[in-house]
Symmetry: C2
Subunit: 262 residues, 2 copies
Amino acid sequence: MIFKEIVMIGAGNVAQQLAKSLWQKGHRIVQVYNRTQRKGEHLAQQIDSTAVSRYKALYRSADLYIIAVKDDAIQAVSDQLSSVLQSSQMVVHVSGATPSTVLAKHFERYGIFYPLQTFSSGDPMDFNQIPLCIYASKAEDEVNLLSLAEQLSEFVYRLDDTQRTNLHVAAVFANNFTTHLFHIAQQILEKEDIPFQILMPIIQKTVSKLTSLSAKDALTGPARRKDFQTIQKHQSVLDTYPAFRAIYDELTDSILQTYPNT
Amino acid sequence: MIFKEIVMIGAGNVAQQLAKSLWQKGHRIVQVYNRTQRKGEHLAQQIDSTAVSRYKALYRSADLYIIAVKDDAIQAVSDQLSSVLQSSQMVVHVSGATPSTVLAKHFERYGIFYPLQTFSSGDPMDFNQIPLCIYASKAEDEVNLLSLAEQLSEFVYRLDDTQRTNLHVAAVFANNFTTHLFHIAQQILEKEDIPFQILMPIIQKTVSKLTSLSAKDALTGPARRKDFQTIQKHQSVLDTYPAFRAIYDELTDSILQTYPNT
């Protein structure tokens, strides 16, 4: 094991899941840092670690520091870390939306360890099935990070900052926005006393199709087949839902433009 | 069996799947009508039936006529049927987007037998898991249609025209539009040489969450947590994709409005 001693900064969802997975694979999390001592201790107890809540108490000779805090706190944490660590120490963060370069101000050896998944509290994740996106400023560190990631997950990708930012945007379309569309569908059904359950088979089919067809080929429906009569019917149904109607029109236009000749 | 003799009008995807399922459950499809004789015969051969391609040759004393043709042809088929059938005969169509009343012009006993699924050619469906939406103009026929549907599927719903039209709109959001978002995500990834495969775990999680959480509660991401810094980053990534940027903004605004206080 290249990174013999790891310090986890943060004790939220991602920090917990990642620290436990690393510990289960035999890695030593020498310390958990968290602003709230008790929250840090709660995690530390589960992984034979100790918790600290002040940067001055931070263990200073770990091989890897993992910043697993909210995106908007990463810069501040990095600033704090620089007051107790050497610039030659290895620091990574786990964010999809934050460039690795926010760490470059203080550290020469920095990188990314980004698990692409939607984490919910109290919902233990099988890291084995979570894609891990890796990057490091130094080639040698990257080799080691990649090998660490491969111990946790079957799906390890090497992505630079531009790739990872684009991936994060793509994930917003594929996860957040689709969930919002499910919520819109649910509201339309609720008003008609139809249980959302009725849509689950078609939703599951929508996703399972992607294993055999490209999304482009999988698309069906009125906009795909240029069935303007049905589109007009839908638009009049949506006259009572102006907010949904705007989304319907935007996405319908986009589909019409995507399949111009069919 | 109440509907002892059934005639299937059409031999496309839905007609094929439905006719085969009915036949497998022991129902007798006495005839398949299709404009193209050969296509009708292909289906008829698989279900011990015979095919005709002229309305004059239509079997006139069946208990149920199922119109399973494209939406925009239903009215014309109904007109043709009226030239050979009695107005007291039972006629249903299988469309989600077409009101049952298009059949009322010629028939007193009309109804709906609408399977809510995305049908693709050559992809045999297990009707058992497909929601069937039933309606009939006469209460007694509806009882019989419901019992026919229950032989095919675990999930049978009684929906009137307004409910079914709203369901069809909801399904466009939950199936067509989500598929289009997956396609957008794929295009963003392709330009960065990232395989779409990387998104499959988060997409699967997005759907499996719906079994334990409402879509409203399941939503995560920058718009949900009012992370305007990340939203701005995403918008600048999307500056090179104006069409996607418009969809991003529309859906982000809708999420911001849906969760005003969080």
